[in-house]
């Protein structure tokens, strides 16, 4: 009985952390005004949004984004992971870091980078126009938003599937190669199916992210008025003049209502996860697959994707950060300047934001992974009610858009008496981040845990070790790579997270992401570009240091 105590504590804490803010959102959606003011129970908020044609349009667009971006990101991400992890592709080491860039650049900034490079007067567009006479793309169309969203989510899929692929012995692939299968066929029929649990997870997750996507449609959807549910929710903050929490909460509730059935579906799909255990007591040595002439095809594919997803927008941001103006008829050499960077380094709040971002990414990231691991172990190898319950709640926060989640966390820290002293500390920001990205971290850890063969743990238990001891001495050491990978990923997303911290911003809790949002609104686009570049550099340094100190992205 003693052993179940920590488990229950973990579950109770998790449930409270997730359900309290979300319960607040659900409760708020059924009121006529802010919950902390005189109000009445009513469903008028639902009546309002269901009668608003904008809402239905936004719902349709959101569906299109979620489906479209899953269709693009999942196959590309899986193929990318296979090429990078399992084959002898030339220059793999060099490609590892650039592939991650879309994860740690805030979508707001990426979107803006695309405007600078591919917009109507973007420098790529202008160059293209000079050569071919016209530009075949419109960066503000719904199709562009979907394609960009899909391409920028490839790294998420890549990360999940690569961590699973790395734990796969080479024996099965070699068998296939020996029987004469092409590398492509090996990927399609052997390696990728072997990691399908990880893929299924990330598939559902990417689909979710389609519902939650905010930064890209905010920047690219504005000029032509394309709304998705999150930008519709954002619009509701001003549409009625004063913020209408009940309407925002109603929209958030609708998003949860759509995403929840997906969790059910996912559980159904994963019932057969047992079939995919590959890390047996005797792990086979990994040998990369020789690609032969195919390697140039693979390399071309990766470089093309990198060019569109990373180089184009980042070049846009980089350019914007060193010029005072840009666009039609400007000679860029005449407007070069370093003033924007100076502006950042002369400002106390910016310096604080940079330091806080580093703290929240490194220490906060490690702490978050620790919490996710505790939750992961609580459900590991137990198919009971509690585990099922946890699976459901883990995915719920992702359904609430960051902005709303941040607001809910802000309320929790405001109205729960013993928490209020922590509100103006970084802890509140960390808590909000950890809750919002719970699904992410958990997926990483669970797919790592699933790779561990049960016989190893059973062996430990047979010789009399307690459950805690088995976790400590067998399970956790076995998934060390997965944990380090998770920490790296969490570090990156904490580094770039923007909308969640907005309501928790106060002197001392500034983070780069929230700063970018507030600067964006006032028009300091040049400083935003400089700050984003600094942010990217930070993550780049973090990544390099991690790789140096033996966080393995390759075996």
């Amino acid at each position: 009985m003693l052993q179940t105590l920590p488990r229950r504590a973990v579950v109770a804490l998790l449930a409270l952390s997730v359900f309290f803010p979300i319960g607040l959102v659900l409760y708020q959606s059924a009121l006529s005004g802010p919950f902390f003011m005189p109000h009445a129970l009513s469903l008028e908020s639902y009546a309002f949004i269901f009668n608003d044609p904008d809402f239905w349009q936004a719902a349709k667009n959101t569906m299109a984004v979620a489906i479209g971006m899953s269709a693009i990101a999942i196959p590309l991400g899986a193929i990318l992971a296979f090429i990078m992890v399992r084959t002898d592709l030339p220059g793999r080491k060099w490609l590892e870091t650039p592939i991650m860039i879309p994860i740690f650049v805030s979508p707001v900034v990426l979107g803006f980078g695309y405007v600078v490079s591919l917009g109507p007067v973007g420098f790529f567009s202008v160059g293209f126009q000079n050569i071919f006479g016209s530009v075949p793309w419109n960066i503000y169309s719904m199709a562009s938003i979907i394609v960009i969203a899909g391409l920028t989510h490839v790294p998420h899929v890549y990360l999940y599937s690569s961590s699973a692929l790395r734990n796969l012995g080479s024996d099965v692939e070699e068998a296939a190669r020996l029987s004469g299968a092409s590398p492509f066929r090996v990927a399609r029929d052997v390696s990728i199916p072997m990691v399908s649990p990880a893929l299924l997870y990330v598939g559902v997750l990417v689909f979710f992210l389609g519902f939650e996507i905010f930064g890209l449609p905010l920047i690219l959807g504005d000029p032509e008025g394309h709304l998705v549910l999150t930008t519709y929710l954002y619009k509701l903050t001003n549409k009625l003049g004063t913020p209408s929490y009940h309407l925002m909460a109603a929209v958030a509730t609708c998003i949860i209502a759509v995403t929840f059935p997906l969790v059910l579906l996912q559980r159904f799909l994963l019932k057969s996860a047992q079939r995919f255990v590959a890390m047996k007591g005797k792990s086979a040595r990994q040998r990369p697959l020789t690609l032969g002439p195919w390697k140039w095809v693979a390399l071309a594919l990766i470089v093309a994707w990198l060019f569109i997803t990373v180089i184009v927008p980042v070049a846009g941001i980089a350019l914007r950060s060193v010029v005072s103006s840009w666009g039609q008829g400007i000679n860029l050499l005449e407007v070069l300047t370093l003033d924007h960077f100076r502006a950042v380094f002369q400002e106390d709040t910016m310096i604080r934001a940079i330091i806080n971002s580093i703290l929240i990414g490194t220490l906060g990231g490690a702490l978050a992974v620790g919490c996710y691991l505790a939750v992961g172990l609580a459900t590991h190898r137990k198919n009971d009610l509690i585990s099922r319950f946890i699976d459901y709640i883990v995915l719920t926060p992702r359904a609430v858009p960051g902005l709303m989640a941040g607001l809910a966390v802000f309320w929790v820290f405001l109205f729960v008496p013993f928490l209020s002293p922590a509100r103006s500390t970084l802890f509140s920001v960390w808590f909000a981040y950890a809750i919002v990205w719970l699904a992410y971290g958990m997926r990483l850890i669970q797919s790592a845990l699933m790779q561990v063969g049960p016989e190893l743990e059973e062996a430990g238990r047979l010789v009399g070790a307690s459950r805690a001891r088995v976790s400590r001495d067998i399970t956790v050491p076995l998934i060390r790579n997965g944990l380090l990978g998770a920490w790296l990923l969490v570090f990156m997303i904490f580094e770039r997270e923007y909308s969640t911290g907005v309501y928790l911003l106060s002197p001392g809790t500034e983070v780069i992401g929230a700063q970018i949002v507030s600067l964006w609104a006032s028009g300091a686009v040049d400083v935003v570009a400089a700050l984003s570049l600094i942010n990217m550099a930070l993550v780049g340094i973090g990544l390099t240091v991690a790789l140096r100190f033996g966080v393995k992205l390759h075996d």
Partner: protein, 366 residues
């Protein structure tokens, strides 16, 4: 009279001060404190301000204030107008929020004051303020920011640059093809300030408003949620002309970027004023009063005009970016948005949605 009051107050807790002040509100503002109490403020030693002005600009004011009162620490948080409102009402419901709020969303500020979130303060500086900028000694206008038409100097020929609203409408109607998709303005659905400005247009220029909307609709105006994104697109040439932009922001950008040109319309120029009030539940009421006095003082206003890239509202401050400078340039064409309950008209949900519906059908063709 003052000294006895001061001595009496110093013996009380800050909470009692607030309570006492609240009690005086009932007797009208004549009984409100007349000057800030420096020793009490220094004893508080802290001041929390929520604003929408960039840290960089606000810091000029804060630095000067700190040099005058080194004992008072200033915590300034910069956020959007909506966040400011959200945070302020949420925190007030939970206890207390910032001591001072300072926002360009004039209507939301007046709503807060009207809902009883402010405490009166009879500042000696208000004698210098225009009448419309002081509402019941509770809400104060601190700046005088003209709203103009911003254009791309490189790409818009001088002959096209509109000098008035009438010119602007004419330009859009006569050169519709050239400017199709090349004009931008605030999205009144997404920006509270943008909504306020366009409804002020309707009030000030009732006759021309329908035409303005039609003209904007004809060129398929692009709408944006913030000044920054509008200016970025004008500077790059993706759009050529922006309507209803804050000239204070445009001026800041124009100093760094030669592409940006600004016109203040000669027929009428709307003027927006950042509204400041002291919270009723302020934890540091005396420091808040000192701060308000300082911002409205000649010194504070000079900093606003010369360093903070905003426009001073005090008539006795001289220079291009001041109310007096603008008066010389535009005379009676200036139409300051007056700080009073008239601003609450469109916070009524039905009225607001009605206006937006009408705007969307004429401008966006929805």
């Amino acid at each position: 009279m003052n000294t006895t009051r001061r001595r009496f107050q110093r013996g009380l807790l800050a909470g009692l001060i607030v309570a006492a002040l609240n009690a005086t509100v009932g007797f009208g503002s004549a009984h409100a404190q007349t000057t800030a109490d420096v020793p009490a403020a220094q004893k508080e030693g802290k001041l929390v301000i929520y604003g929408v002005t960039d840290n960089e600009q606000a810091n000029h004011l804060i630095r000067e204030f700190r040099s005058m009162y080194p004992a008072i620490n200033v915590e300034y948080s910069n956020m959007s107008t909506t966040e400011l409102y959200n945070r302020f009402i949420s925190e007030s419901a939970a206890g207390s929020s910032a001591d001072v709020t300072w926002s360009s969303s004039m209507d939301l500020q007046i709503k807060l004051v009207n809902d009883g979130y402010a405490q009166p303060h009879k500042s000696p500086e208000t004698a210098k303020l225009p009448d419309w900028a002081n509402w019941k000694n509770e809400a104060f206008g601190t700046t005088y920011e003209p709203i103009g038409i911003v254009y791309n100097k490189r790409l818009v020929p001088a002959a096209d640059v509109p000098q008035s609203h009438a010119d602007f409408i004419k330009l859009l109607n006569t050169q519709t093809e050239k400017y199709k998709g090349k004009v931008n303005t605030y999205d009144p659905e997404k920006s509270g300030v943008g909504f306020m400005l366009v409804t002020q247009d309707k009030q000030v220029n009732a006759a021309g408003f329908a035409e303005l909307q039609k003209a904007l609709g004809a060129v398929q105006v692009k709408v944006q949620a913030s000044t920054g994104t509008m200016m970025e697109r004008i500077a790059s040439g993706e759009n050529l002309i922006g309507y209803n932009l804050n000239a204070a922001y445009a001026l800041t950008r124009a100093q760094k970027d030669p592409s940006i040109g600004i016109v203040l319309p000669k027929d009428y120029t709307l003027v927006l004023s950042r509204v400041m009030f002291i919270a009723k539940k302020a934890k540091n009421p005396n420091a808040a009063k000192l701060w308000l006095d300082f911002v409205l003082s000649k010194k504070g206003q000079e900093i606003i005009a010369s360093k903070a890239d905003l426009y001073a509202i005090r008539p006795d401050v001289e220079g291009a970016t001041t109310a007096s400078g603008l008066k010389r340039e535009l005379g009676n064409a200036l139409r300051p948005v007056e700080i009073n309950t008239g601003l609450l008209t469109y916070l009524d949900q039905a009225k607001r949605l009605e206006f937006l519906k009408q705007w969307n059908s004429t401008v966006k063709g929805k």
